[in-house]
């Protein structure tokens, strides 16, 4: 006997790929439109449809679009880099951040030297960039703490 569930007029990308009937209360339909089949295909390949459904069920409805976007991003990165996925991207960004911190420290030292040198000269020279004090206090360690310690693990990954 056929199910009494109402049929939606067109299947979403998920139900099309899964070859199943797309109901009006399909959880995935709002996020995987029929005109974006590749988007769901990527997520399905990495996570699987049932896992995506479980993940979305655990997230409040207003945040499900963001959750889907992040899953799509993760899936794309994983497909491009099957070994390291997003962790490769994080490691690379952390390396860049370390380099920038180093460059900032060098620049701060040079500025301090310039300021000392300038103090012997005329004091009327006013730099348009005067209000820089305190703006160098950004610390990567602070960032690590803000992330609840999780980033500390990634900072050591994959070379503990």
């Amino acid at each position: 006997m056929r199910s009494q569930e109402p049929r939606s007029s067109s299947s979403c990308a998920a139900c099309k790929l899964m070859k199943r009937r797309c109901t009006s209360d399909c959880l995935l339909a709002p996020y995987f439109q029929a005109d974006e089949p590749k988007k769901f295909a990527k997520v399905h390949k990495v996570f699987g449809a049932s896992n995506v459904t479980k993940i979305l069920n655990e997230v409040p409805k207003p945040q499900r679009q963001d959750a889907v976007d992040s899953l799509v991003f993760e899936a794309e990165v994983r497909l491009k880099d099957p070994v390291y996925g997003c962790i490769g991207a994080i490691t690379s960004l952390q390396d860049k951040m370390s380099q920038l911190q180093h460059d900032l420290a060098v620049a701060k030292t040079r500025l301090a030297r310039c300021s000392t040198r300038t103090s012997y000269a005329s004091c009327s020279t006013t730099s348009p960039f005067m209000m820089l004090d305190g703006e160098f206090d950004m610390s990567f360690d602070d960032f690590v703490v803000d992330q609840g310690g999780l980033t500390t693990e990634f900072y050591q990954y994959p070379f503990p």
Binding site: K45, V46, F47, G48, S50, N51, K54, I55, E58, V59, Q63, D66, A67, S70, L71, E74, P82, V83, Y84, G85, C86, I87, G88, A89, I90, L93, Q94, K96, M97, L100, Q101, D103, L104, A107, R110, L111, C114, S115, R117, Y120, A121, S122, S127, P128, F129, L132, E135, F136, M138, F140, F143, D146, Q147, G148, L150, T151, E153, F154, Y157, P158
Partner: protein, 153 residues
């Protein structure tokens, strides 16, 4: 007796994955090197988001020497997703991008400041060549201790 002996042998050598699925762990089990029996949580964490069959397919598609790193990265991504169900590790990537933009902006400002100070600084520090040239230009001895000498003569 034989049946129990066989069961003991199976239990002691099963990997975490085969133990989870309550199946025999074959000698060539693809999961065994990466999901050891003594750490069942590792597989449970990864299985929650990726599923065993997807993990198996991923591992089969890559060289053996890279599989350990792949499993580690899947595990860390899964842990991120547990900690942040909405954004997972993408939240960390977004934060890092933001921090990098701020750092780049600060660095650019610092470098511009350095360039400005360098451009507006007229060297007064006594160097042998500079003091000699001053003597030559002005025709009298320059006090090397007087930093303002070049401004007044």
């Amino acid at each position: 007796m034989y049946r129990f002996h066989k069961l003991d042998k199976m239990t002691s050598t099963r990997c975490a994955v085969c133990k989870y699925f309550r199946r025999r762990c074959p000698p060539d089990c693809i999961f065994a090197p990466y999901f050891l029996n003594d750490n069942p949580q590792r597989f449970i964490c990864v299985h929650r988001f990726y599923g065993a069959s997807n993990i198996g397919k991923m591992l089969e598609e890559m060289p053996v020497q890279l599989r350990a790193d792949a499993v580690d990265s899947l595990y860390y991504e899964a842990k991120c997703r547990i900690q942040d169900p909405v954004y997972g590790c993408v939240g960390i990537i977004t934060s890092l991008h933001r921090q990098i933009q701020i750092a780049q902006s600060q660095l650019a400002k610092a470098q511009a400041e350095i360039s400005f100070l360098d451009a507006n600084f007229v060297g007064f520090e006594p160097t042998p060549s500079l003091s000699e040239s001053l003597v030559q230009q002005n025709g009298f001895e320059q006090g090397l201790d007087d930093p303002f000498s070049t401004w007044f003569y």
